[in-house]
Symmetry: C3
Subunit: 304 residues, 3 copies
Amino acid sequence: MTHDQKNILSVRDMDREEIDALLTAAAKFDQKKFTGHELEGKILAVLFFEPSTRTRMSFASAMMRLGGKILNLGSVEASSIAKGETLSDTIRVISGYADAIVLRHPKEGAARLASEVASVPVINGGDGAGQHPSQTLLDLFTIRKSMKLENIDIGLQGDLRYGRTVHSLAAALTKYDDIRLHTIAPEGLDLPSHLKQDLTDAGMEIIVHENIEETIPELDVLYVTRLQRERFPDPAAFASFAATYRVTPELLEMAKPSMIVLHPLPRVDEIDPAVDKMPCAKYFQQAHYGVPIRMAMLNEVMRS
Amino acid sequence: MTHDQKNILSVRDMDREEIDALLTAAAKFDQKKFTGHELEGKILAVLFFEPSTRTRMSFASAMMRLGGKILNLGSVEASSIAKGETLSDTIRVISGYADAIVLRHPKEGAARLASEVASVPVINGGDGAGQHPSQTLLDLFTIRKSMKLENIDIGLQGDLRYGRTVHSLAAALTKYDDIRLHTIAPEGLDLPSHLKQDLTDAGMEIIVHENIEETIPELDVLYVTRLQRERFPDPAAFASFAATYRVTPELLEMAKPSMIVLHPLPRVDEIDPAVDKMPCAKYFQQAHYGVPIRMAMLNEVMRS
Amino acid sequence: MTHDQKNILSVRDMDREEIDALLTAAAKFDQKKFTGHELEGKILAVLFFEPSTRTRMSFASAMMRLGGKILNLGSVEASSIAKGETLSDTIRVISGYADAIVLRHPKEGAARLASEVASVPVINGGDGAGQHPSQTLLDLFTIRKSMKLENIDIGLQGDLRYGRTVHSLAAALTKYDDIRLHTIAPEGLDLPSHLKQDLTDAGMEIIVHENIEETIPELDVLYVTRLQRERFPDPAAFASFAATYRVTPELLEMAKPSMIVLHPLPRVDEIDPAVDKMPCAKYFQQAHYGVPIRMAMLNEVMRS
């Protein structure tokens, strides 16, 4: 790591001013305020050690929108890693081929390790149970497009135990004032208690709900996540919960007109497709905001 | 689908003037009449849900020749689709990452479905037993390079039952005057009767032949397709037909000097490599014409 | 192959002046003496029929640094080759999509075959037990960065029997004066005798060593290669050799201060990571030199 190398590894590392600066830069890019030459001549190495269509494609799109080029690692099975090379060695070598690296890796801490051996900036594209800062930033960006990031009620629904996305978002929201977190999860899939403790310690109010109906009228944001079949003891338990937790137009009649529905996608059955055309449905827009957010991140670490 | 979104889904949707306009645009690009900046700053998402080296690489080459950039879906196994996402959701998300989408999909109708949910133009790169407009256009382009598209005899040889390429070409040829279609196929692999009916209804004359020798002297174009081993009841039947249907220099001595041989490639044993150097062998040139044709298509849907 | 098509297939084909010209061009690129527009508008087809992360990524990076674009074959399993297409046909078709081809192939002679049917320049990115000219050129380049390429002692350590890299480097070194080759290999993994004969016939002195300690004090370059477990009769034999042949800081205390350590990478256990920070450790720098070397090669074959 060179002295002035800028990395983006975790939203936890960032203070509110840094986050707001990135969101503001993203807003500029979202309004097409870019020339397409900001990163001309620059190369981004895209190292995805596990698949993530959306994250990979939106980082690539963001880089290209700024005039930069993409260098793909390609399939991991076909790479030097399969020959026994360490992540450190791979990162050292690829540092010589590119101007920045975005790394997606199944192991928590991989991005930080990479940043310590890289000679170019490293962006964490998600590391296992760890951080996924570009997802958190685009979630915040989407909320901020609809309302001020203060004094709001946010519902988190679905698998809150294993969902990295909601953990990271909840932690980031502690940097803002008067955010109340409403959790709606199947038994056994609630927020981990250590995270609940951290959030409470940071001054956040957490309200646990048995079902979505009791809380939906007070929510400003409903953040839905994918229920993964394999987390349930048996198929019947999954089917029962999937039906109970499904977001439908009928359910949404109980919500405030200004409430927005988010989802990190891919969505399976958690949201009825009939919701897609309702004004509250912001999840596809949310995915699209991945491009301006990642433009802001790439420009932040690579601009001269 | 936005109001003025231009898609290219099927040659069936196009009238003869639209087809001729694309062929004329392709001829211009083939003569290197482009600046390399026509689509500068534009991004083409290349979504191939089944492999097709030639189609994918020539679309990418065409986009790059016009100054544009390529955003690859990558392997389908590694994508959100594997997590249960619908094609509609994938297309909606990727609409936010690119300026146009080229879709290859095993299911007939996939491209039309995609065009209905996409917010950017969609080009059909082949959808199952359905359409493959860029292949048909490059076939027409190759014929038109050698002769006028009227009053000609075209032989279709090989697997005419399952060969999407020849179905689509035959249908497109009904838009031109006085095309006579000569079919030469193993038993059971002739043109489907519903297609024959459609062609005849459109005024096309179809002549069925038992063997290639009886028709070759009258042909202006011989279009050969790959015989797929798995279509035959047993290996011996395949071997027997493969030998009978092989195009060799000896066979071609019976043809008019001006006759041209086409093949959508890849070729296996249908054409003797000794034919490659004969002036009638246009199949590699035909593959190369894929680039100017696709430049014309991309420019048509994305130019401002 | 057109009359004036320039290929780079093997260092054996090149005389010393040609090699030195490429090394000098690479030195210029390494000092950032390029505009990023040298190959603007050009397309390089990257056809890797076997994986090679480093070679593929550094060719792509080199092409992009000169303003060019990359057209990937993608996975071989998913390509026309899987449908039975010959390499010749694949190359003929792709010649129409790109301005040059870099080919990696498991079969010796594949690159030469490709150059005979291609209508654009072909660069050999490694063909089986055959040649790998870009690796050899970057090895020479790395040595030349530290010392003159004459009157030096070079140690080759590891699997010298199957290691294409060291065979190719040794052959190239015969073009330079007073190079002494010291070989240090496990029993059964020494240089093949036909190669030894060729080198000796070309006037090179070869000294065989039992162990690294006896020769290290006289070496100017120590070139280490990966020991592949599968080359050994049993795991114990491998473990024993791996321990004996490991390069450690203690071992390097016996070397001249000016000696440099090279390795084609990926490295597994042959070099202790504690060596990485020593001034003699040039292997990561060596990998990075892959970019300027490949810039020189690409510019050589594609510049107008």
